[in-house]
Amino acid sequence: MNKETSKIRDEIIRSSGVNPKKCMRCGKCTATCPAFDEMEYHPHQFVYMVENGDIEPLMQSKSLYKCLTCFACVDRCPRGVEPAKLVESVRLAVIRKQGANHLTSDDIPALLDEDMPQQAIVSALRKYSK
């Protein structure tokens, strides 16, 4: 693991408060996940990949946004690992990544929708343009 990935991993572990080493690989999180079919990486893989610093593929994956944050995995994990919190932290790591703009003001006209409140667009710009 190089310095950069280990830094991201440590930051994800710190911000989530999750200790992936507590995982005993039982798979109850994945067994219980209602979004399983939508996800490329499943809850138990999240835990394992974060532990190994394999975070880049997680950050690239759509799985981040398929997690419903229903916390079923958190509730049922027999070891108290809390996989959903890891997903949330990786999501934050993506959002906070310096220089990576996910939304520029030029994108907005194309996204405009009559049904969408203007406030949602403004807050999306605030959140995703950092």
């Binding site: 798979g27 109850k28 994945t30 067994a31 219980t32 499943h42 079923a72 049922r76 108290g80």
Partner: protein, 664 residues
């Protein structure tokens, strides 16, 4: 002035790795009273002990300090060494420079400094030590076994075989315990009843064994060799000596709706019942919670049909008092409650059952006469899902599960799966596992047979959710090797529930003053070297009350506990602990504080005549200590307001000297 020798042990590199042993022995050389100081690689070895013996003779030592491991480990060893060299064994002090020093420090300088301080404290204490001589007490040659499961049965049989009388106290109406409920036993698949019930008969027929069934321990007093125990023999409303066990009352009783605990509540019994056909003693018991006669005074049918005239509605609980030399705890286990596992729908569907319920469902003497039928509709199940580790290895929530591995579930689940496939080849059997743990003779072969010969589907993963859908159970699970989520339509789901110590164990441990761990398992005197003894002298451990184990292990431990009991009962006298409380009569003001705090009832007050000035005398009330009963806990020494009570070998002056030496 004492002539003290100091012996610093390296314990290989255990101590010497973090403590400069040479510096320690050099530093202690200059302490007051020290005339000799040395260090050696293994002080507990024969060569090390010889160094001590030689130094005692050569330097005319009157006391020694051994800087080594915890006194729990080798104090007895070094006391014997001193005694062999003619020194009073209570002139030996241990400075614990391993557990309390080298093992907790990483830095050599800090470790060495602390080791020297601990050594100085021990030297300061030895300077005030006085030779002590232990007293002797007789041994009551009778043993008590608490619990009549396979552990208690085996322990009692072995003790009785050696010629000592044994009493078994069992809270249920029959002995036999959990094993009596099992169908077959792994890995050889003998029928549990076929190997257990003959042993139960042996117990009943053995002249040295008395069974107090339907009885509980009420009170325990005394100490090793001389326990005084009160046993509450609960009223069973049937005269035990007259009842022939014919069972006619259990057929005629009109109260038919009593959940049958022996069949895990899956069928009903009558209010008067014999738990199962091979019960020992084979005597009926009336359940006062359901008996119409006892509740309303109207019925009396059992009494009318009983040809022996054994029914007695006026029976009362009886308290039996007996003396014992040794007590064995064999209180056993229970599966944990499934109430907190909502995700497995245990309380929503009758077809989600625990493994012990499954045992009854497949047992020929069970509610379905051995036919595997769904509890909900009595239909034959085709798809059966076994879930392992339900509540075992669960660190997330102490109220839900247990952090430990329950040890027996992997094997009994393999057994259940294998037997199901053997008897019903039309079934699909799935076992969800986290790890399969099969350390034991012929255990892994057994599990592999279930997979390879019987076609049980073992899936590495866990069930996340079970929910009833129509008359089926939907099982959502993970298959980690395939990285898939599975949805199985099952007819029956079997949960391998974690096991926990029986709830009665805690109160029994309190009565026995035996220690327990955080899970309420009894603790051993030493986890490796004294696994069947409790740290409380005279109390021994048998079976699952000490930790999860299967039948072969339980029987081994039961026999081991019996061997320890026999070793104790074979002695005519026991050497006591001389480190007991000693009141200073002249300072005692007769306040009774010590008497009130003594947990062993060792202190009594007497009136004694004292000589007073001018040739007068006065009667004063003073404390006396029964040295055979005193355990040297020291509670009285701190309770005494006038400082009259002291503990021999741990006198206040000695403790203060130690503290002074540390703080200097």
């Amino acid at each position: 002035m004492q002539r003290i020798g100091v012996f610093v042990c390296w314990c290989g590199s255990n101590i010497a790795g973090t403590v400069d042993v040479q510096a320690v022995s050099d530093a202690l050389k200059n302490e007051p009273g020290v005339v000799f100081s040395t260090n050696y690689q293994y002080m507990c070895s024969q060569a090390g002990q010889d160094i001590i013996k030689q130094a005692i003779a050569e330097h005319k030592l009157t006391g020694i300090v051994v800087c080594s491991c915890s006194p729990r480990m080798h104090e007895a060893t070094f006391r014997k060494t001193a005694a062999a060299a003619g020194l009073n064994p209570y002139m030996v002090e241990i400075a614990n420079i391993r557990e309390q020093c080298s093992w907790v420090h990483k830095d050599m300088a800090t470790g060495t400094e602390k080791a020297i301080i601990l050594g100085k404290a021990a030297v300061a204490k030895v300077n005030l030590n006085a030779p002590l001589t232990p007293g002797e007490s007789p041994v009551t040659k009778r043993a008590l076994v608490i619990g009549g499961g396979i552990a208690g049965i085996q322990t009692a049989l072995d003790i009785a075989e050696a010629g000592f009388p044994v009493d078994i106290v069992e809270k249920k109406p029959t002995i036999g315990g959990k094993m009596a409920q099992l169908d077959k036993t792994f890995p050889t698949l003998d029928c549990a009843a076929c190997i257990l019930t003959p042993k139960m008969v042996d117990v009943a027929q053995n002249e040295n064994i008395r069974i107090f069934s339907y009885s509980e321990i009420e009170e325990v007093g005394g100490f090793v060799g001389n326990f005084k125990v009160k046993i509450r023999k609960k009223a069973r409303y049937v005269k035990e000596d007259i009842c022939t066990g014919c069972g006619i009352c259990t057929e005629k009783c009109p109260q038919k709706k009593v959940p049958n605990e022996f069949n895990m509540g899956m069928d009903n019994r009558r209010a008067v019942y014999i738990p199962f056909a091979q019960a020992v003693p084979k005597v009926a018991t009336i359940d006062p919670n359901y008996c119409t006669m006892l509740k309303t005074g109207k019925c009396g049918i059992c009494s009318k049909v009983c040809t022996a005239g054994a029914i007695d509605y006026t029976q009362k609980d009886e308290i039996i008092e007996e003396n014992y030399g040794a007590i064995v705890a064999a209180t056993g286990f229970n599966p944990i409650s499934m109430d907190k596992f909502d995700e497995y729908a245990y309380n929503q569907s009758k077809d989600v059952i625990t493994s012990l319920e499954f045992e009854r469902l497949t047992n020929a003497a069970g509610p379905t006469a051995g036919k595997l039928l769904r509890p909900s509709d009595g239909k034959h199940p085709h798809t059966i899902v076994f879930v392992q580790c339900v509540g075992s290895r669960c660190a997330a929530c102490a109220e839900k599960g247990k952090e430990y591995c329950s040890k027996i579930c992997c094997m009994y689940t393999a057994k259940h799966a294998m037997l199901t496939r053997d008897k019903y080849p039309d079934t699909e059997v799935y076992v969800f596992y986290i790890d399969v743990r099969t350390p034991g003779k012929a255990f892994d072969e057994f599990y592999r047979r279930a997979v390879e010969e019987y076609g049980v589907h073992y899936i590495k993963g866990m069930v996340g959710k079970v929910f009833p859908e129509g008359d089926k159970l939907m099982v959502r699970a993970s298959d980690l090797l395939a990285n898939k989520q599975l949805n199985i339509q099952a007819d029956l789901v079997v949960l391998a529930a974690a096991i926990e110590p029986d709830k009665s164990a805690r109160s029994i441990a309190t009565m026995l003053t035996a220690s327990m761990d955080t899970n309420d398992f009894f603790t051993e005197a030493h986890p490796k070297l004294r696994p069947v003894e409790s740290p409380t002298a005279g109390v021994f451990l048998s079976g699952t009350c000490q930790g999860p184990k299967d039948i072969p292990e339980t029987v081994s431990q039961a026999s081991a506990a019996a061997a320890k009991v026999i070793g104790l009962l074979a002695k005519d006298k026991l050497t006591g602990n001389p480190c007991v409380a000693q009141p200073n009569e002249l300072m005692c003001n007769g306040c009774s504080s010590c008497e009130r705090v003594c947990p062993y009832g060792a202190i009594t007050y007497i009136d004694k005549e004292f000589r007073m000035p001018d040739r007068t005398t006065a009667i004063r009330r003073i404390a006396t200590v029964n040295e055979a009963v005193c355990q040297g806990c020291g509670a009285c020494t701190v309770a005494c307001p006038s400082g009259a009570m002291d503990l021999k070998g741990f006198a206040s002056a000695q403790i203060i000297a130690e503290v002074d030496a540390i703080c200097k």
